[in-house]
Amino acid sequence: MLLEINDIHVHYGKIAALKGISAEVDEGEIVTLIGANGAGKTTTLKTVSGLRPLTSGSIRFAGEDISKMPGHKRVLAGIGQSPEGRGVFPGMTVEENLLMGAYARRGNFSKELAEVYELFPRLAERKSQPGGTMSGGEQQMLAIGRALMAKPKVLLLDEPSMGLAPKLVQQIFSIIVEINRRGTTVLLVEQNASQALQIAHRAYVLETGRVVKSAPAADLLDDPQVRAAYLGGGAEAQVGAPAEETPRDAAEAGPASEEEAPRGGAATGEKTPPVAAPTRVEEDDESS
């Protein structure tokens, strides 16, 4: 296993955001974590990349226990992340942003730079534009390209489709498949579950800080409960049809951040069934 997440608990103050998450990512896979706002997806990624400390549990990466490794060292170990909200450096140009991605490395990065520009021709056109003045889709490309500059073994992607038009979403997802095809393992967090399940090999369903289901992605696409809760509801849902996803995208693309989520998660608490009914998912969206 490349990445093993072992019963991790994470707290924001006294509020538990993760209540014992276990997951594994094997080399070459695309694994996705799906779930509603506040399920703990972003917190899981941030804990893997070292931005959040563990309360208990452990994380092993490439055979090494990295639970106590400081965040800034995990990049060199091989963990690259495109964070939620993209985290582009607004005052740096596209190229400076990309070079920041190789900050931890030594040597010449022209090869990686060329590779990123080949994957994202749009970035090549805008080398000297400040990151802060780019559109949402361009910033997402920049964030992914920047993470690739570190030559990560595993690429953590946090909501790459957030706030993007359906056409751009398709484009970003096909690039993710291409990145994986070229040999980078991907751990993908998404609210756009149907898209994520279509490109992933395996998936974990998260619900208020716990894993409630894990299965090959294709199986989850057919799972009636998952369909009801995350794929736009019921039998009439045609998985993968962009027309059907658009309204959900719009509902989920709001500014709600998972940082605020533990409040909502704690409020809905333990009473919720393992896989929630569609109505509750909508409530969750409104409350955050």
């Binding site: 992340q81 582009v88 450096f89 607004p90």
Partner: protein, 321 residues
Amino acid sequence: MFSDFIHQFWPSTIDGLSLGAVYALVALGYTMVYGVLRLINFAHADIFMVGTFAAMWTVKTMGVSDLGGLALVGAILLSALVAGAVSGGGAVLLELLAYRPLRKRGASRLAALISAIGASIVIEQLFATIVVPQVFDLPKEKGKIAQAYHFVHRTDLIDIGPIKIANDRLIIFLGAIMIMIALDQFVNRTKLGRGIRATAQDPESAVLMGVNIDRVVTATFLVGGVMAGAAAALYYARFEEAWYFSGFLLGIKAFTAAVLGGIGNIRGALVGGVALGLFESYGSSLFGSQWKDVVAFSVLILVLMFRPTGILGESLQQARA
């Protein structure tokens, strides 16, 4: 009143520029720490004050007096090096003792701010009660200005019609410019400089890039402290006095300069510093020197009323939100 101003225009401009350059150097320390930690480091004023004593100590130890020409340049350079080292070290120590423990425990920004005020008082009183009487053998009375070591022989170096530039003013201004160029190179050309910029723009992303935030914070305090120390040596060359409380007003003015230029913005600190120096100097020649602070701070209020983010306010900050 106005004829005084016309008559005094060139001397005021030159005074304003050289004083403004000193404000700018100190303002850079405020603005850089704010950029990285979103903290107003109120004890930065006292890091400057420590620098003035280090400069005085250097002059005292050299035992020189009445210097001019290249000897003066050398003496100021040496005192700037000593003061820069002392203030830089002091700033790093300040961060380690007063801010880092709070940061590691995830304390609020308000707690760090209170700690800054506390650290400021501690440094001042340490100097008033121990350093001034024991190291400099100067009177114990706290209010007394520790001034004793004069070393500058002032001459007009440049004399073109109404424009007369004294040697000390010129050295101060050129010295400050050189330090600013060095800072610009450091921030824009070095790896650590890029780390500082990245941390200021998005600390979490910076960690994801492999930036060691602790090292960035230490470097920021070190650079800010060195600049405050160098500024203190230039200030000492002009006023030849050191006082345990001298950081207070100068610190407020430098902080004002940082806000005036747009806090968090390095170029803003330069613009704000020079602008404040000029306002103060012109205000003093227009209304009399007792009014100079009134004029300077009134201009601050006016600027902030119309441009709340300062002259070069962080428009990028808004782009991010």
